[in-house]
Amino acid sequence: MNQDKLRATTRQTRLLTEHQRALAQKQSTLNRIKGFVDRARSAGVKRDGWAYYNVNIEEPVPFAEAEQILRQTANSSSYYFKPIMLHVRANIEPDVKAPPKTASAVSGDSPDTRTGDVLLTLKGAFVVNRR
């Protein structure tokens, strides 16, 4: 009987010690995660604190304008740019009209009547911290 009691107690103690160790490890991991989350939030890494401005261009544009557009589609100190897709087609016929307009284009010009050097198709989004 004492032998059984000894074995059972030894097993229970071992299991509890293991459980204790696992709890301590879990707590340590949670503390590290909490620290990371706190630091990230204090640094503004919080989805609801950022705005997404989608870009969807599909129109013929002159080289100069294309270059101007592309120069802006890069990360800067005040925003990130999330690139999705860029298609450029050169040697388009001068009378080729741009396809029906796309949603919000960065440029404020009307695409319907425009002609250019390249047919530019660009999709992406500006990700801006609202502060």
Binding site: L6, T9, T13, L16, V45, I84, M85, H87, R89, V127
Partner: protein, 429 residues
């Protein structure tokens, strides 16, 4: 041997039963008259002890001896053969050293033993002499002679095998007859030497209270005459020096011919004190073990309670809160990814810088997947084939040096003008 108490000997020789009690020897009428565990050494009255070679496997040697003895007319009644030693000579021949006793007598002895209240170990006299022979451990044949009354029991052999056994008998115990008896022993030894082609160079004499003087040939130069250590015994008020008791002390209890139940009872009694001591020790160990384990269990129990308390305290004091880290972590990863992604401009710059002057791009597709940027370039080279091809090779080489991986490459030419299609990927790290 097994117990600390001295053995109690009852010795039956020449029809007289003696009981040894300390240094006293007393005559009793029967072994039944003694109390307590007893070693009973007997010449079994009219028994004879011999060696014989029989033409039969060892298993049936006793049967063959019985048949031969009855055929020769040595016994006129059924006999029982007690085998002391059997040796297989060849497949169908066995050397046997035995004591033959009338069956009626043998069973009478056994009945007396069984009827005895205590354990009695019965030893034929010649098995005691055989024990002495074995203890001598002499490599060459030795003779053991035990003289008592008008008899001389002779046993010749080595520590391993008995070669010859016989009882020499005198008509009476007169000096002349005893002298003749010793000569008879000597003659027997000489005959045995001749028969077995060996030499007995050592003779051990055992005596009893009525042995009398040593033989005249004790100064025989051919043989070394030895006597066993003698013990002082008092019998009927007279002091005797007897060596036969020393021979008994050398005897092994395993040689007893008592029934197995008697032997078991004897050994059990002899072992009882030791068994009691072992059991007491075992009980003591159990008790000590019980307390040791109980103490160990209590200690572990306390450790268990402490550990359980600690776990409860940890769970109570520091409940595991659910931290909504997944959304923050995913968004942080997204931002890191955006920072790592090559911009459209940087991709265009890489392609422009790698493109030779004679080549132009008609279609450029840049698609951003989860882990990589996929690029497709379709263009022309308006120059001769050799410079177009070399330019294209340089173009792809430059891009691969800048970290792009060439997934597909097609180059078609009509010599004056060439077309190319290049698919590249760039891992996002």
């Amino acid at each position: 041997m097994m117990g600390s108490n001295p053995r109690q000997y009852v010795i039956e020789l020449d029809g007289v039963v003696y009981r040894r009690s300390g240094e006293e020897l007393e005559q009793i009428s029967n072994v039944k008259d003694v109390q307590g565990d007893t070693w009973f050494i007997s010449d079994l009255e009219s028994a004879i002890s011999r060696t014989m070679t029989v033409e039969t496997p060892a298993k049936y040697a006793e049967v063959m001896v019985r048949k031969k003895l009855q055929e020769t007319g040595e016994f006129d009644e059924p006999i029982f053969v007690i085998s002391h030693d059997k040796r297989k000579k060849d497949k169908n021949t066995t050397d046997i050293f035995f004591t033959a006793v009338p069956a009626r007598l043998y069973h009478r002895y056994l009945d007396e033993i069984k009827a005895h209240e205590d354990s009695v170990l019965l030893f034929p006299l010649f098995s005691v002499l055989q024990g002495v022979l074995r203890r001598m451990r002499h490599p060459k044949p030795v003779a053991v002679v035990f003289r008592h009354g008008r008899f001389a029991d002779l046993l010749i052999g080595t520590g391993k095998a008995v070669l010859y056994a016989n009882r020499c008998v005198a008509f009476d115990t007169s000096e002349e007859q005893l002298s003749a008896l010793w000569n008879m022993v000597k003659t027997d030894m000489t005959a045995a030497e001749a028969e077995h082609r060996m030499k007995v160079d050592r003779v051990l004499l055992l005596n009893w209270i009525d042995s009398g003087a040593e033989p005249e040939w004790s100064d025989d130069m051919e043989r070394e005459i030895l006597s066993m250590e003698e013990e002082k015994l008092s019998y009927n008020g007279q002091e005797h020096l007897v060596s036969f008791l020393k021979a008994l002390d050398m005897q092994s209890s395993l040689k007893a011919i008592s029934p197995p139940s008697e032997k078991s009872a004897y050994y059990s009694r002899q072992c009882l004190p030791s068994l009691n001591a072992i059991l007491a020790l075992a009980a003591l160990l159990c008790i000590v073990g019980y307390f040791w384990f109980a103490q160990k269990a209590d200690l572990l129990g306390r450790q268990l309670a402490a550990a359980q308390g600690e776990v409860v305290r940890m769970e109570h004091e520091a409940p595991m809160e659910e931290i909504p880290y997944k959304e923050t972590l995913a968004f942080a990863r997204d931002l890191i990814r955006y920072r790592k992604l090559p911009s459209y401009k940087s991709v265009l710059n890489d392609i422009s810088e790698a493109l030779p002057k004679a080549m132009s791009v008609d279609v450029l597709k840049v698609d951003y997947a989860e882990e990589a940027v996929n690029i497709e370039i379709f263009g022309k080279a308006k120059t001769a084939f050799d410079s177009a091809y070399l330019g294209y090779e340089e173009f792809t080489k430059t891009l691969t040096q800048r970290g792009y991986t060439l997934a597909e490459s097609k180059f078609d030419t009509d010599i004056r003008e060439s077309e190319f299609l290049t698919r590249l990927t760039k891992e996002i790290r």
